[in-house]
Symmetry: C2
């Protein structure tokens, strides 16, 4: 064990294990998670060469191998709880995406939700047994965000009682679905349904893609891999071009909408049913933002405690780089952010499960708010976390660029969350739409409840102004007071965005143009709203924590999170009169004090995330801090070192020397 990191752990002021239990959601959950991790770690079938040393085709191959093993073992061990499956899967693939992701997370659930009982009978068991390997093909080359713009067609032919599927244009080629390129033999294809000469919009169809015997693509099916990407080397994101592919009528998912044998179209009863899934996936992504940032902070903070460089005081030994104020200022606010997002993720998961209960009893009342909130929070957290991973990586200096640090992989595997499941700017505007609607309702005298209740007219007309006239009302040492400041900032920015729309309308432009011409303000308002929610939830979480030591260190983190946000957006707080110039200096001063205060607990705070070395897979982030020996050992194993002399020497350099 590196003595520097041992000393760090000795200096911690709280019980790490207790904090781990809080993060896991209870002592039992910690125990079970560790059991599952050990199952995978000790399993010789899951040992493989470092993925960094493999070509893309080899990485895909290794992932398929692990996924196949995983399916067998989940059944062997009888792991069936969705959370535990997720945990096992994350361990096997070290948090990476894999070729069967969409089969498990989209194909099977879509069957469960949208297949009729007869279809369940036909498709579910073969899919469960991976005879049918499926994916979910929605996005097209030319169409992502705007579902109504999808061009793939499914035209009903009553003569044969079949649908004829086509990709009529180049832009209509399905593009991006995971597992589509090489792995799947079926896809649920989203297509515009045409019957009896009329288009009825998007519907889902089960389309066989490859022979069940030979895996060779079926006639009319042009399918393949979309080529190398930024990360996701293990996944065969694919393309799919359909050329007059005929499927039986029974291959349209018919639990809700139907096409009868003669071609008569029967409408579905409601279209709000898919909201729940979106909310669930987005709340998972928020948790993922917390995890990605937690991993990155673990690596950067442990490394900062064993790396020595330069000098603070001349003549003294080189200090740990964590002793530099600039290093603390890079890493500790991100550490606080990781905790904040983990708690927000927990909250969203809890609310989702509570609301799902309500929905099953027919109560949809909380869904629109949660739907809007989940969109914004997904964007807010993924943007910050992506940028934060890169800050962590660069805080490790040159070695952060080495694949052995794991940080490049964490980045490229996380950053797509900014784009998939709803492009972030679109998500922000979705939340803004809810905020503006709520603002207008409040302005019209309706009393709002829930998280947007701060938009109520009475509150707005009283508080921001009174604050503005006596700005010292915000106490920069008091978290509750800061939550209030964030709330009033959000209220003010929502109001500004609404006024911008109003001003545009006065120029006689249309509603839609007024909206687009105010989009910058709308995104800013959403951002402020989400920031408020995060600060509020972090503060609320403190109330649940009994242990004094843990409570104390988390309170420091929460205060750091809130104050750093104020410093970064000081313009907003000054502009809205929530803070005075002297208070801003106080904020800066207090921030520096908090960094110094957190310094002795930094390593313990990342230890509490409890990533074992096998899961973290980072030489820089090793628990024992013995970085350099292992970096050397890793490098010596890398492919270019398999021979002492690379063949290019004989092919090009030696002949060149002869010519010069």
């Amino acid at each position: 064990m590196n003595p520097d990191i041992t000393r760090e752990r000795e200096n911690a002021t709280f019980n790490v294990e207790k904090l781990t239990h809080i993060l896991d959601g209870g002592i039992e959950k910690t125990k079970r998670r560790r059991e599952i991790e050990s199952l995978v770690i000790s399993d010789p079938d899951f040992q493989s060469e470092d993925l960094n040393f493999l070509s893309r085709s080899e990485r895909y191959d290794a992932a398929v191998k692990k996924s196949a093993q995983m399916i067998l073992k989940l059944r062997e061990y009888g792991i069936s709880d969705p959370e535990e499956i997720y945990c096992y899967k994350s361990c096997v693939h070290r948090g990476r995406s894999e070729p069967l992701d969409l089969h498990l997370a989209m194909f099977l659930p879509t069957l469960l939700n949208q297949a009729s009982p007869e279809q369940m009978e036909t498709f579910f068991i073969p899919a469960w047994n991976l005879e049918i390997i499926g994916t979910y093909a929605q996005t097209e080359m030319g169409h992502g965000t705007h579902l109504r713009g999808l061009e793939t067609t499914a035209t009903y032919d009553p003569a044969t009682q079949e649908f004829v599927l086509n990709s009529p244009t180049i832009t209509s080629i399905k593009w991006w679905p995971g597992g589509l390129g090489k792995t799947s033999n079926h896809a649920i294809v989203l297509a515009q349904l045409h019957t009896q000469g009329k288009c009825h919009g998007l519907h889902a169809f089960i389309v066989p893609l490859r022979s069940m015997n030979t895996h060779i693509p079926l006639p009319g099916v042009v399918v393949g891999d979309i080529g190398p990407k930024f990360g996701f080397d293990e996944v065969d994101n694919g393309y799919l071009k359909l050329e007059n592919v005929r499927i039986p009528r029974e291959h349209m998912l018919m639990k809700y909408a139907k096409v009868e044998a003669d071609g008569t179209y029967v409408k579905p009863p409601s279209d709000k049913l898919t909201y729940g899934t979106m909310v669930f996936i987005r709340s998972m992504i928020v948790g993922e933002a917390g995890r990605a940032l937690a991993k990155s902070c673990t690596i950067a903070i442990r490394y900062s405690s064993v790396r020595h460089q330069s000098e603070i005081r001349p003549g003294e030994p080189e200090p740990q780089i964590m002793d530099y104020q600039t290093q603390q200022y890079k890493l500790f606010p991100l550490l606080a952010t990781a905790y904040a997002y983990k708690f927000v993720g927990q909250y969203m998961n809890d609310v989702y499960h509570r609301i799902t209960g309500d929905i099953s009893q027919g109560d949809f009342s909380e869904l629109p708010e949660l739907h809007a909130l989940s969109a914004g929070l997904k964007a807010f957290t993924t943007w910050t976390a992506s940028a934060g991973i890169e800050v962590c990586r660069m805080a490790c200096g040159g070695h952060g660029y080495s694949r052995c640090s794991a940080l490049p992989d964490i980045y490229v595997n996380f950053v797509p969350t900014c784009t998939y499941e709803g492009e972030n700017t679109v998500m922000m505007l979705q939340t803004a739409r809810f905020l503006i609607k709520s603002y207008r309702q409040a302005s019209a005298g309706h009393q709002l409840s829930g998280i947007v209740s701060y938009l109520n007219e009475s509150e707005r007309s009283l508080q921001p102004q009174s604050v503005s006239s006596r700005p010292t009302v915000v106490n920069v040492n008091d978290l509750a007071s800061l939550v209030e400041a964030y709330k009033l900032r959000a209220a003010k920015l929502v109001e500004l965005a609404a006024k911008s729309i109003q001003q545009e309308l006065q120029k006689r432009v249309s509603q839609e143009d007024a909206w687009n011409n105010s989009a910058i303000d709308l995104v800013r308002a959403s951002d402020a709203h989400c920031h408020y929610v995060v600060v509020k939830l972090f503060a609320a979480k403190l109330g649940e924590i009994g242990d004094t030591g843990v409570h104390s260190v988390l309170s420091t983190l929460a205060l750091l999170y809130a104050l750093q946000g104020i410093q970064q957006h000081s313009g907003d707080f000054l502009q809205t009169g929530l803070l005075s110039v002297p208070q801003l200096s106080q904020v800066s001063q207090r921030l520096k004090e908090l960094l110094a205060q957190l310094r002795p607990n930094a390593v313990a705070l990342v230890d509490a995330f409890d990533y074992c070395d096998e899961m973290l897979n980072s030489v820089l982030g090793r628990y024992d801090g013995n970085v350099y020996e292992h970096m050397f050992e890793w490098a010596r194993r890398s492919p270019l070192n398999k021979t002492e002399v690379h063949e290019s020497y004989h092919k090009y350099l030696k002949p060149l020397q002869a010519k010069l």
Copy 2:
């Protein structure tokens, strides 16, 4: 040609070719650059498969092949001007780093600067003819920033008149030098010189690494590749462990310092001689920041003009995504930044060449200022450009993640500039040291000249206060007035940082601790200083431009650049009383107007960067806008599509299906 992009070009209000000449530095330079580009593009020896489809070893192989060809052809064509060599090399390797980079840019120049005449005779011609392939080994596994901390030793043995080189610890292993792993047979090694029982600090030694005949590592030399990285797949960054490696006394570079045969050490006359090279490399990096951002903007803006998505007005066709205000707000300020950095790079290059002339006449007076400025500007521009590349990439939605967009490559190949040639935070603090020193001189009554003259006591005591009391003095429509505001902000933040140090000293901490405890404020002051310099230089450039159309569009860009910076740092401008709250609203409003105003010129402004398709190598950034067909064609060529059925199906999936 895609009709959307044709229409964009028709709507432009200025002459693109004229702007290209300005960017190149004159019509003749544009002509010559294009000639060199054609030489490479039309050369069948430089055609190769898409690098994205190759393994790392294949990419290294392809790069060595190209580099060897390049050396031959440079001589064949008689290209010898350093700028033209750089241009040819950039074309051959598409701006990527390559295995011979350090031989050309460090090994040969170090010989020229530090070898004695006898050493030049021995080493230069063999190195020129690539008999000797060299690299420059400075950084060690445990030591980067702090050169004095390097541990490699060179101990003189008078008995044999040799130096004995050793890597005494694991942290002393040389790590990162480009071309060290596989390509080079020699290295200039930086080591602590020991002779007659005394250490004389770092000196440079020419160390043979591999046999000149067989390329096999010599006894005592442990050398290899450091393994895969985030980008830089073409370069064999290497490690080097020296175990009692003996080299003749004449292998120490002895133009300045010397060790005589008996071991007597002779000191060098001055140590400021290396400043010039550092300044030059950093000014190159600033230009590189401009180019990387220019490429990224070219791709994102062209794609935004041909991509259609969603709707602004219901019932109308899907608009070009460039019509969304949020998209404009992402891309146009970055476009302005690319122009700003290109002009700053030009300026630094000019100043460097002017000062180099002065230095050769013994006048070092401007060097400290330029040295300090180049450090901060390197950090300022590389941070912004790196983040900006990612904004461009994500502005392309899902397709920005495909390697065919070229954006992932631009990012991973550019982002290391944040770390190499001086870690950015260290660079910012270096500039801060100069600013604080200047501030103290001014406070002591010395009259400063040059770019820091705004720190003069008289100016400071007059202007910021007077501005603060009448904030309307800033005219948000007048660039000169905004330059002034940036200047006063910098002055104020330097003052705040100086005061923070003062306050720390009053707590009886040491100078060094006071500095470290104020580091956040110091970085912020440097940042403001650099921002001021960039705005000022952009404004100054406008004065050189005669053409009305070009002048007009560049003025809009400069104003956008200045106003967006104010909006992003509105807290600073409010805090220092340089702007009032109502003015800030004006800034927001004006920004939106400028976005709309730039919209018709956006494509023409990126066309003016004049990246031909072969150099840009991006399907999304194609000049003709025909994105989708070529994306499909690219994907079909990718390695996973070489067979219809991947072998993993037979190895894992089919057996799995049999078991379930």
